[in-house]
Subunit: 143 residues, 2 copies
DNA sequence: CATAATTCAGATATTTTTGTCTGATTAAAA
DNA sequence: TTTTAATCAGACAAAAATATCTGAATTATG
């Protein structure tokens, strides 16, 4: 069960974090990413392909090709990845699944949830993937 | 797209809120619930059936039968409904989909997310469905 | 008692998400 | 130049979530 992101998005985030733990420009094959992260190879490959479209990842074909990160890790926000894969609807929808109410007469959840959602958004908007470097290295080694 | 709950759970919450807007003990047919809330009839019926098992809803068969709320709205927490339908895993899983790390060396998200998650849990644990009465009445009428 | 309206259980169907396969293209290196 | 190892595109498959159907059991009411 995922929390708020789709599996695609979780895998995308994991893969980007993994790529960011490599030296800049180093190409990593879908095979390696998949086996290190326990993600189906073709699936992660598809996901990274789509992230090349968003200029988050980049790739090189052919022998000794692979995926790498398209810009400096400090320039990639977690939110960028989420936006590219799941979109931002989650930050806009009613947590109870109701069509939007006007803010004039909010239910008891509305403001509380609104606050949480805003915090979550800010969190993803503030955290760039370079900040995960140390943790990611440890994590990968422990899988 | 749902936010953090499954559609089943969203519908369940909506249905329980709807039932709570009726006078205590009044039986409401799946048909009425479905058409008022724009939910597939058989689906909401299934969901309420399952909630009778958790002693949140109750039902009466036969002519002029239907569903009703099993206890006083002030005794039903939103969390109870979530627990009965989706379970509580969402409050336990890593938001990035990683297997759990030890708390010794958390990534930058860990504590921030942990805090948000805790707030969300408390919110659902604090809010009882009686607190939604006024809003629910308005809401239903505006659908 | 017959009828109508309902829940209920279980099977089935549809849709969405997740995962896999195939073959084409690319490029390094033998 | 051939072989090898990779991405890529698009079709395909499997699983999970969502939705529908069918018929049996129940119960109020005429
Ligand atoms: S007021 Fe409540 S029901 Fe309406 S959109 Fe906000 S959270 Fe959802
Ligand atoms: S430390 Fe980070 S990656 Fe690990 S469980 Fe916590 S949030 Fe997930």
């Amino acid at each position: 069960m995922t929390v708020i992101f789709s599996k695609k998005c979780e895998y995308g985030l994991q893969a980007i974090l993994f790529l960011s733990s490599k030296t800049r420009g180093e190409r990593v094959s879908a095979d390696e990413i998949a086996s290190k992260l326990n993600i189906p190879k073709e699936f992660v490959s598809k996901i990274l392909q789509s992230l090349t479209g968003s200029n988050i990842a980049a790739s090189k074909k052919g022998k000794s090709g692979g995926f790498y990160i398209a810009k400096d890790p400090s320039q990639i926000k977690l939110l960028d990845v989420v936006k590219a894969i799941d979109g931002l609807d989650v930050f806009d929808n009613c947590v109870l699944g109701f069509p939007h109410c006007s803010k004039d007469n909010p239910c008891p959840l509305h403001n509380k949830w609104g606050k949480l959602r805003e915090d979550a958004y800010n969190m993803l908007n503030d955290e760039t993937i370079d900040k995960f470097y140390e943790k990611t290295v440890n994590k990968i080694n422990s899988l």
